[in-house]
Symmetry: C2
Amino acid sequence: MAIIVNVDVMLAKRKMSSGELAEKVGITPANLSILKTNKAKAIRFSTLDKICEVLDCKPGDILDYQK
Amino acid sequence: MAIIVNVDVMLAKRKMSSGELAEKVGITPANLSILKTNKAKAIRFSTLDKICEVLDCKPGDILDYQK
DNA sequence: AAATAATTATCGAAAAACAATAAAAAAATA
DNA sequence: TATTTTTTTATTGTTTTTCGATAATTATTT
């Protein structure tokens, strides 16, 4: 019962590094890392939006729900 | 290019009212309404978590991405 | 029409994103 | 293995936003 942020799968598919994603999304690599490692407790839709745009995917591809 | 929150579909499937969802999730109907009508600019994973739990669905069922 | 439900609107407090930065750790590469 | 690059962790401060509480308005249902 937890939302899991998983960006790694899409990063691999797009052959993109975390640093590149951070740059294209417009957040610092440090903050992207917080998201990637599930340290974030919330997310702005604008950020989720940009991540989906850059990775060309849907929120469901990045957010998992595990019981 | 925007994240769309769509709870109505799942509410209909579960035959649940907004008020009931709010109560079970543990937020006020007013704040749930803000989420439902796409007025929220961010969401806590704990809230998304609870919504998914109560509606027995995944984040992707609630969050849409539209170009 | 009356009652119920949902939305909108404020206000304030608490929580958290995010930037900026530096340091540490991990991974990749020569 | 040594070096470079990348990623993660940590800290501080500012800004943003959630969320509760509440009341009023609007919509829906009975």
